[in-house]
């Protein structure tokens, strides 16, 4: 480390006494801060420090509140307050003075004030509102430093609600002549975008302008915004790909001024940012990816290995190459790069190399195979982080053959890990692997035992839950179930006989549940023995009361026979007087059930494990109770959402008298407390009381749906085989099967280091062969065939296999693993490029067509739906033209003229009268053309999809599948066409209903079909439409409006611009809204107007407008969350475009 910075704190006192030292020379001896710091460094204990700081704070407090303190002194005081705060002592009294200083001081004092404010306060702090005015003033200042300070504080924190107040000023700064101001303004806008995306929707084209700014610094700043926006919606910015590529090309080519260089690398941070953006854009998109291949190649070539920062670029490059649609020669180069990283002696690079390997390993497992020896070495690396990363990599390549070795390595690491976070993470992974690939019962139970004892009480509750579920639900074979449970019982009994005191609570809970459920399976085991073991747990000091109740429930299940009763009697007596109500209840249950064996037999019958319980979900058995309660004056039950609305109404100062209502806390009583023992024991057979409902709720809360339990069925089917293979792996060479021999041979050829072997080397080699078993091509094929797919963290390979096995091809998501496959794909699927170029049609293009279509449509209703993005397309080329940035034109999109007229004739008769949107092409594959439009009916919105077959041959088994997050799609046609003869068109109709409102809604669909003699194929497409298509006028009277207004709970307010027209501007503005958004104007009284509309089906939204200070103050209310926000956005757009 540098010796220049060699002035340690330990030397501090001596430094302070010697004023000749440079560090202390800068301090004025009279400085109060200096005194304070000196004081603190001389202290020896935390306690003394606390006392000193409190004294200091008291003195600061006194001085700041004194009227005689000048601003200059205030500045000095503020710095001292900041110092105290940074040590963790609160100085809240100074906050208001910091704001005052920022407001009233001279520039330098202001600077301190702003700094203090940005350190002291946070976005939601109430005092921050006091700063808004100061920021407003400073933004308008002619002193550039003041403007800079204001922008900086704004980007650190600003109250969300006040953004509209300063937004125009910040926007204005985008045109400022000074680049530093423009740059800061862009970042401030980015901040706004992060905290309130809706507020800055309308300035997206200004971001584009910033991207084309003549100063590269401003352009760089705008990339932050683009990275974020593209992450959220890559489809929307495909047209910019070429621009980003051009910029990167110029940067890489050294066209930037020298002072953007860092260690003679041109603008490395800019390059990194661009590469990230490109990888987002090129993901799953062959045509967009094709644009960037060249520049990626160039980047790889230019980044010569000479400095850290070039490695950063290389790493991003490699990640990008593996993220976008693959190209074989680039992949090769990237793989080489990864190799360099992994083999590098520099530890940071090794780390990144492992990360990169982890990222790509599922596409290209061979790469891991190449570096297997390095990976093995990393497993024993002294740096825990490297070790952990290696395990992460191994986790990704685990399969049924190598699971035993990998899990063993992970458990070894777990034993030495001291970091909670790592432990929790790894424990989850081990449990996942064990469930998926366990070769046999013993291994599974033992591994889970280790997981439970190491994971302790930190681990995710999912793990024990899913483990118990696995045990209780069992698998196909009854015999296997029995063996597994039996083994578990055996293992737990011996654990309890050992030292149960050391086991974590969660594990004890699992143990007691399993023993309660299944110890009867082991016939030679006396229940009394188990009972005694369990009773021992109760006596241990460290057992928590939650665990105790699990134990008591287990005992309840087991208490039969003479011997049992005596143990339980004692226990239940002890706990019947427990302070804990749950324990007391369990003890009571235990007492009664142990005495009354007949009752016990009825309540806790065995071996009904999987029979579905009959659940009376209507709770009809409570009817009597309810009617009785109602008769005695209880309030009727209201569902939670209704209550919430009433509550919200109450907040809005309801003037109506309070109705009779009693607090009902049904919803608050937690019915799905997952860890409660009742819940789990019930799943094994308790039934018949009202808690059934909770059982139902409980079992659905066990989050197992997402977990693929391959082990469940597959493990057992392939069990014997897997065991054998695993056994062979353990014992090397002589016993290997031919396929393994090949495997080993190939690894020999790939890693020359393997050949002649000294002792430890051979050990490593053995480890390698067992770790990487099943990764070479042959065995991975047969693996894929028999086991279920791996978790889809990355796009899987498996293209080759899936097509050969005749499965459906998902063109848009598939990726290939090996170079040869890439070539195949490119030759055999000319459709690929077709599809994506069609899909790449940016929404802006699509929507602008839509809007054209609507305006030209024959008008049964005169609406003109202006779509949000329509102006972007127009403005973009010209912007770029202005700034002479070459090749920045948006990606060319296919001319969609052809289908328009062609399909209109196919529109069903009942729909052709209504106004419909422009017909938009969705995708084209070979001879199949998909187009769509939407038709606005009075009560519904119909999506019409046309499929035309332009070839001679018939297309069979057409299957359309639509889905959307925001809307509900239901098929209108009774019997959808499945086979399409040559040169014909099929029409599909879907009715759309909004589930959750959002500004734009998108329908994503898949069409699968089969050409004669070919395998079936599938293509994805998406269709986007604005929320306004779902809006219909709602005719209400003013009185009705009044009552509805009070009843609605979700609202939003915003100021909109007025349209100034000769006549009353309010009327003009409202007419625009009426025309464009189909709102119903209820009444206009003076400067106020009320409007109403409804979202299909029948979800009203009310709007109240008032002209105030030259703007239109709009207040929207609706019972539907988000609807007001979305609608206000469309209002804003409609008025802007007017």
């Amino acid at each position: 480390m540098s010796d220049v910075v060699e002035k340690t704190l330990t030397a501090l006192p001596s430094l302070l006494s010697l004023d000749s030292q440079p560090g202390s020379a800068k301090l004025s001896s009279t400085s109060k801060l200096g005194n304070l710091i000196r004081g603190i460094t001389e202290l020896t204990s935390k306690h003394e420090e606390e006392k000193l700081i409190q004294r200091e704070l008291a003195s600061i407090k006194e001085q700041v509140s004194s009227p005689n303190t000048s601003m200059r002194q205030m500045k000095e005081l503020m710095v001292r307050a900041i110092y105290c705060e940074s040590l963790g002592y609160e100085a809240s009294f100074s906050y208001i003075h910091a704001i005052k200083l920022a407001q009233q001081g001279t520039v330098l004092e202001k600077r301190v004030g702003y700094l203090a404010v940005s350190l002291f306060l946070n976005e939601s702090h109430e005092l921050l509102l006091l700063l808004v005015n100061t920021v407003l003033k400073d933004l308008q200042s002619t002193n550039l430093i003041e403007v800079c300070m204001a922008l900086t504080v704004v980007s650190q924190m600003f109250p969300k609600d006040m953004i509209p107040a300063i937004l125009p000023l910040v926007e204005e700064k985008l045109n400022h002549p000074k680049e530093i101001i423009r740059r800061k303004a862009v970042l401030a806008l980015y901040k706004f975008y992060l905290i309130a995306p809706n507020q800055v929707q309308h300035i997206h084209n200004k971001f584009r302008k910033a991207l084309c700014d003549k100063d590269p610094g401003v352009m760089t700043a705008s990339l932050h915004i683009y990275l974020q926006m593209i992450q959220e919606n890559p489809e929307g910015y495909k047209d910019l790909t070429a621009s980003f590529v051009t910029i990167l090309k110029q940067v890489v080519g050294g066209k930037l001024p020298m002072d953007f260089n860092y260690h003679s690398v041109p603008a490395p941070w800019l390059q990194i940012q661009l590469l990230r953006i490109l990888s987002l854009l090129g993901k799953n998109d062959p045509s967009t990816s094709a644009i960037m291949y060249e520049v990626l190649d160039e980047s790889l070539r230019r980044a010569e290995m000479n400095h850290n920062i070039t490695y950063a670029i290389l790493y991003e490059c490699v990640k990008c190459i593996y993220t976008i649609h693959p190209k074989s020669d680039l992949l090769e180069k990237a793989a080489k790069c990864i190799g360099n990283f992994v083999l590098s002696p520099k530890i940071n690079l090794k780390y990144l190399g492992l990360k990169a390997l982890t990222y790509v390993v599922q596409q290209d497992p061979k790469l891991a195979l190449q570096h297997q020896m390095t990976i093995i070495e990393c497993l024993d690396h002294p740096d825990l982080i490297i070790k952990r990363e290696t395990l992460e990599l191994l986790f990704r390549i685990t399969n049924a053959q190598n699971v035993v070795v990998i899990v063993k390595k992970m458990l070894e690491f777990l034993r030495i890990s001291t970091d909670d976070y790592t432990t929790i993470d790894l424990v989850g992974k081990v449990a996942e692997l064990a469930e998926k690939y366990a070769p046999d019962n013993e291994w599974f139970i033992e591994t889970m035992n280790t997981v439970f004892s190491l994971g302790g009480d930190m681990m995710q509750p999912d793990i024990p839950n899913s483990f118990l579920k696995l045990l209780s639900e069992g698998f196909d074979s009854v015999e296997e179930d029995r063996k597994l449970r039996l083994f578990a019982v055996d293992s737990y009994v011996s654990l309890l006989q050992g030292e149960p005191g050391k086991l974590p609570q969660r594990f004890l809970q699992v143990i007691s549940w399993v023993l309660g459920e299944y110890s009867h399976l082991k016939e030679e085991l006396e229940p009394a023995i188990v009972l005694r073991l369990l009773a021992k747990l109760l006596d241990m000091k460290q057992t928590s009361s939650e665990t105790k109740s699990w134990v008591l429930v287990a005992m309840t299940k087991l208490c039969e026979g003479r011997a049992g009763v005596s143990v339980t009697q004692e226990v239940s007596e002890t706990y019947s007087s427990s302070m804990d109500t749950v324990l007391r209840q369990r003890a009571q249950e235990l007492q009664y059930l142990s005495q009354d064996s007949e009752l016990r037999g009825r309540v806790l019958f065995r071996d009904t494990g999987l029979e579905p319980l009959e659940v009376d979900s209507s709770l009809s058995f409570l009817d009597g109770f309810v009617s009785e309660a109602l008769a005695t004056g209880a309030a009727p039950y209201k569902p939670p959402h209704q209550r919430q609305e009433e509550l919200a109404q109450a907040k809005a100062l309801s003037l109506e008298p309070y109705g009779l209502s009693l607090p009902i806390s049904m919803s608050s009583c937690s019915i799905n407390d997952r860890q409660s023992p009742t819940l789990l024991s019930m799943s094994s057979g308790l039934s018949g009381d009202s808690a059934d409902l909770s059982h139902k709720g409980g079992s659905t809360t066990l989050k197992l749906d997402g977990v693929k339990r391959v082990w469940g069925r597959e493990g057992y089917l392939a069990q014997r085989e897997a065991v054998e293979e695993a056994a062979q792996v353990e014992v090397p060479s002589p016993l290997r099967s031919p396929s393994q021999q090949v495997d080993a041979d190939s690894s020999h050829s790939q890693t020359p280091t393997l050949t002649p072997t000294p002792e430890p080397e051979q050990e490593k080699q053995q480890l390698a062969s067992s770790l990487f078993f099943g990764l070479s091509s042959q065995s991975s094929v047969c693996l894929m065939g028999k086991s279920e797919p791996m978790p889809q963290r990355f796009r899987r390979k498996a293209k080759g296999q899936s097509s050969s096995s005749g499965a459906t091809e998902q063109i848009s998501t598939s990726l290939v693993s090996t170079p040869t496959n890439v070539d195949n794909l490119l030759c055999h699927n000319p459709l690929d490029s077709n599809i994506t170029s069609e899909l790449a049609v940016s929404p802006s293009a699509q929507t602008s067509e839509l809007s054209q279509g609507l305006t030209t449509a024959n008008g049964t209703c005169e609406i003109e739906v202006e779509l949000s993005d329509s102006n972007i397309k127009g403005s973009n080329p010209s912007l770029i033209g202005d700034n002479d940035l070459v090749a920045a034109d948006p990606a060319a999109h296919e001319d969609p003229d052809r289908p328009k007229d062609f399909f209109i004739s196919h529109l069903p008769a009942e729909l052709s009268e209504l106004c419909h949107s422009e017909i938009t092409p969705l995708c084209t594959i070979q001879s199949l053309d998909l187009s769509a439009c939407h038709v606005q009916k009075e009560d519904s919105l119909v999506l019409v999809i046309f499929i035309s077959n332009s070839s001679d041959s018939a297309i069979q088994h057409i299957l359309l599948d639509l889905d959307s997050e925001q809307i509900e799609v239901s098929c209108v046609s009774d019997s959808p066409v499945e086979d399409l003869t040559g040169h014909s068109v099929a029409v599909y109709q879907y009715s759309l209903t909004v589930k959750t409102p959002s500004v734009h809604v998108e329908v994503v669909g898949t069409v699968s079909y089969q050409l004669p003699v070919e395998t079936s194929q599938a293509v994805q497409f998406s269709y986007k439409l604005p929320l306004t298509s779902f809006i219909r006028p709602l005719a209400v009277s003013t009185e009705e409006y009044g009552t509805m207004w009070l009843a609605f709970s979700h609202d939003t307010k915003q100021n909109l611009t007025l349209i100034s027209d000769g006549q009353g501007s309010l009327t003009a503005t409202l007419n625009v809204l009426k025309r464009k958004l189909q709102l119903h104007v209820v009444e206009i009284i003076g400067m106020e107007g009320i409007l109403s509309c409804r979202l299909l089906q029948d979800q009203p939204c009310l709007m109240h407008c008032r002209v105030h200070a030259g703007t239109l103050a709009v207040w929207l209310r609706s019972p539907v969350p988000d609807l007001p926000d979305c609608l206000i956005y469309h209002c804003q757009r409609a008025l802007q475009e007017h």
Binding site: K26, L115, K178, P257, W269, N308, I385
Partner: protein, 192 residues
């Protein structure tokens, strides 16, 4: 995005704390303590990246740090930042500090905490990397310092240095200072 920048010394005493995401005061102190705990027990010859301080937020977050003599510089970032990029950003920041304070040492950071903050503000703004060119950062800070003498405004400030505006299609802007290769005298890069 950068979530937090923490500088503390070998004893865990905070020297500069800047959070770009809101955490309550006691949470902040806890994060500082946890981060120090994680970082301080690592040798100098291990990698500069750490994952999972559980407090600041799970697997998406990374700690990237450098250790200079008595001080640890820790940047806590999310997955949208490049590890090596941030590592070099720390270097840029430290070199800038060195330039501004003429052989920076821990004492400078203690006694001129406010100045360090101003310098940091020119490097990172609202969690976003604003400027990575050391000369530019120094220029901005100096303009502000000059205000101490005269409150003239930014107009006299040197714009970004121009050296070779080649035929880059990003339009030209006057850059009037030519700074040769940056001469680094301070903290030698820690072994990678």
């Amino acid at each position: 995005m950068i979530k937090a920048i923490l500088i503390f010394n070998n004893h865990g005493k905070p020297r500069l704390i800047r959070f770009y995401q809101y955490f309550a005061e006691d949470m902040q102190q806890q994060i500082i303590r946890e981060t120090f705990h994680l970082v301080s027990k690592r040798d100098d010859n291990v990698c500069n990246f750490l994952e999972g301080g559980s407090l600041i937020g799970g697997s998406d977050y990374k700690l990237i740090y450098r250790h200079y003599a008595t001080l640890y510089f820790v940047f806590c970032v999310d997955s949208s930042e490049s590890e090596l990029g941030i590592l070099d950003l720390i270097q840029v920041f430290v070199e800038t500090l060195d330039k501004c304070f003429e052989n920076v040492c821990e004492l400078d950071l203690i006694f001129h905490m406010d100045k360090v903050h101003y310098i940091l503000q020119e490097v990172v703004m609202g969690g976003m990397v604003l400027e990575t060119n050391m000369n530019e950062i120094v220029a901005q800070v100096e303009v502000q310092n000059r205000m101490e003498k005269s409150e003239g405004g930014l107009s006299a400030a040197p714009a970004r240095a121009v050296s070779a505006v080649k035929n880059m299609n990003l339009p030209e802007i006057p850059r009037n200072i030519n700074i040769g290769d940056i001469n680094i005298k301070v903290p030698s890069l820690s072994p990678f």
